[in-house]
């Protein structure tokens, strides 16, 4: 997560609000953002699992693709069924290179009838929009929402909190998205997030961001949560992190994201890298993302080798750390499918020591998405 020191860091519209609440500011994705508040990562993590946490994710890239047929056009760069995406719905997807590697993972949605709204990772956004612009030249125009902030309200009490503040979100379920009037401004609200909990991501005009942030935090069920807990929450939820678990060499099949490749697209084979991806779907990939529970010793972190029982190195941890809910080490990594069987025993090598680990089914902590009301 370290950044090159030369480039001046950008700030989000909530920068002063973080400092006012004691946020410990660190460089992340070219921005200065809070890694934690005074309560610390552990308490912030557990608060989000038990109540509701508010995150500033304004570093992420938001934009609107418009054109004659923006949904069909987007299918040229991502393997989802976007033509079939209904207004009011959101899809997780991946931007693919021609080798079938992942340029970024993203959310694409239709908050209204006006084109396709995309949210991409902060560290990747400049390149993502450049790639989309180049690949879809003449078919779509991109309107970047650089003046909008993005906040995420996550946790079992998120729905009750937001329901009181923004009545227009009533009736939404997981992966619904709406453009609504609320808190005196124009919001784009999706029922989704990056913690495994129920919750919302809320796009808000930058000028109104502090007011919206403070209004949500005025509810005693909500606390501000930093990047540290955001990472440990997403890890427990088994959700991959771009730049760590995903990169331009990793295919969505290897990354265990085949759900993002819709059936009709598999048959049409008309997305970048389709030859490799269809082959991997049929024959199995040479490596696959695994979830590991570390059974003893220190947490295994990014870069730790994964070895079989005979000590042969067969893979590597791509993100790992301490799980506040499981009170032990958990990790995501890559290993050959023969070693990826749930229940199988492997070792992770931490500071030269082999520690027992078990392949488990992700997520480590069950998702609590609200799919039906």
């Amino acid at each position: 997560m370290s950044q090159a020191a030369e480039a001046p860091l950008k700030t989000t519209p909530l920068h002063a609000a973080h400092i006012a609440r004691g946020g410990r500011m660190v460089p992340f994705a070219g921005y200065e953002l809070p890694v934690q508040y005074p309560e610390g990562v552990l308490r912030e993590h557990l608060w989000t699992r038990e109540h509701a946490g508010l995150f500033d994710v304004s570093h992420m890239g938001q934009g609107r693709l418009r054109g004659v047929a923006p949904l069909a056009a987007f299918e040229q760069v991502a393997p989802g069924d976007f033509i079939g995406l209904k207004p009011g719905r959101q899809k997780y997807s991946v931007l693919l290179n021609r080798q079938g590697g992942i340029i970024d993972d993203l959310m694409a949605s239709r908050p209204d009838d006006n084109g396709l709204f995309v949210v991409v990772n902060g560290a990747c956004k400049e390149n993502d929009f450049k790639v989309i612009d180049a690949e879809l030249a003449g078919q779509v125009t991109i309107e970047r929402y650089e003046d909008r902030a993005l906040v995420a309200l996550q946790g079992p009490e998120a729905a009750a909190v937001l329901g009181e503040l923004v009545p227009a979100v009533a009736g939404m379920v997981f992966m619904d998205i709406r453009r609504v009037e609320g808190l005196g401004t124009d919001l784009i609200v999706s029922r989704s997030g990056y913690t495994g909990e129920d919750g919302y991501e809320i796009s808000v005009p930058g000028a109104d961001a502090v007011r919206v942030w403070d209004a949500i935090l005025a509810d005693p069920r909500v606390k501000p949560i930093g990047l540290g807990a955001r990472d440990s929450l997403r890890l427990e939820a088994g959700l991959p992190l771009y730049g760590h678990d995903l990169d331009e060499t990793v295919s969505p099949v290897e990354a265990d994201l085949t759900f993002a490749i819709n059936k009709n697209r598999r048959e049409q084979r008309d997305f970048p890298g389709a030859a490799r991806i269809v082959k991997e779907l049929a024959e199995g990939p040479s490596r696959v993302r695994v979830a590991l529970k570390v059974l003893e010793g220190a947490p295994a972190r990014e870069g730790a080798e994964i070895a079989d029982a005979d000590g042969n190195v067969i893979g590597v941890v791509t993100s790992g750390g301490y799980s506040p809910c499981l009170k032990g080490g958990i990790a995501l990594g890559f290993a050959p499918p023969a070693h990826a069987m749930v229940g199988g025993r492997l070792n992770v090598i931490v500071r030269g020591k082999a520690q027992a680990a078990e392949v488990v089914k992700a997520p480590f902590v069950p998702h609590r998405y609200v799919r039906k009301l």
Binding site: Q36, V41, L42, R43, H45, G228, S232, A298, P324, R351
Partner: protein
């Protein structure tokens, strides 16, 4: 108690030094979730990494403030690593070293010098 610029402390009793990390270091690390203490019998040189302390976010090396042989490690940290946050300069000690070269202590800061050093950070 004497201190290093890497935020370790040493307290000497006879020829044995108890070593830990300072309250400042514990606060900077945040919630300690795992501590790897050195094996008894291990010989360390001043400046060597001799223990590891892990927060939710990251693993950090702890450096031996002085040279010596490890005569005891704080086994209680295995089940209760949070002791490092609760009592960093007391029950949260990491290890006891038999001093190899007591003269090394002279190079370390006293409390006033360490407090002054913290003001510069």
């Amino acid at each position: 108690m004497r201190f290093t610029k890497d935020h370790e402390w040493v307290e000497v009793d006879g020829d044995v030094a108890t070593v830990g990390i300072t309250a400042y270091a514990a606060e900077q690390l945040g919630d300690v979730v795992f501590v790897e203490t050195p094996d008894v019998g291990k010989t360390v040189k001043a400046g060597d990494g001799f223990a590891v302390v892990e927060s939710v976010k990251a693993a950090s090396d702890v450096y031996a403030p002085i040279s010596g042989e490890v005569v005891e490690a704080n086994a209680a940290l295995g089940d209760a690593p949070e002791t490092v946050n609760a009592a960093p300069e007391a029950a949260g000690w990491f290890a006891k070293l038999k001093l190899a070269n007591p003269g090394e202590l002279d190079a370390l800061m006293d409390r006033a010098a360490y407090e002054a050093y913290l003001q510069t950070l």
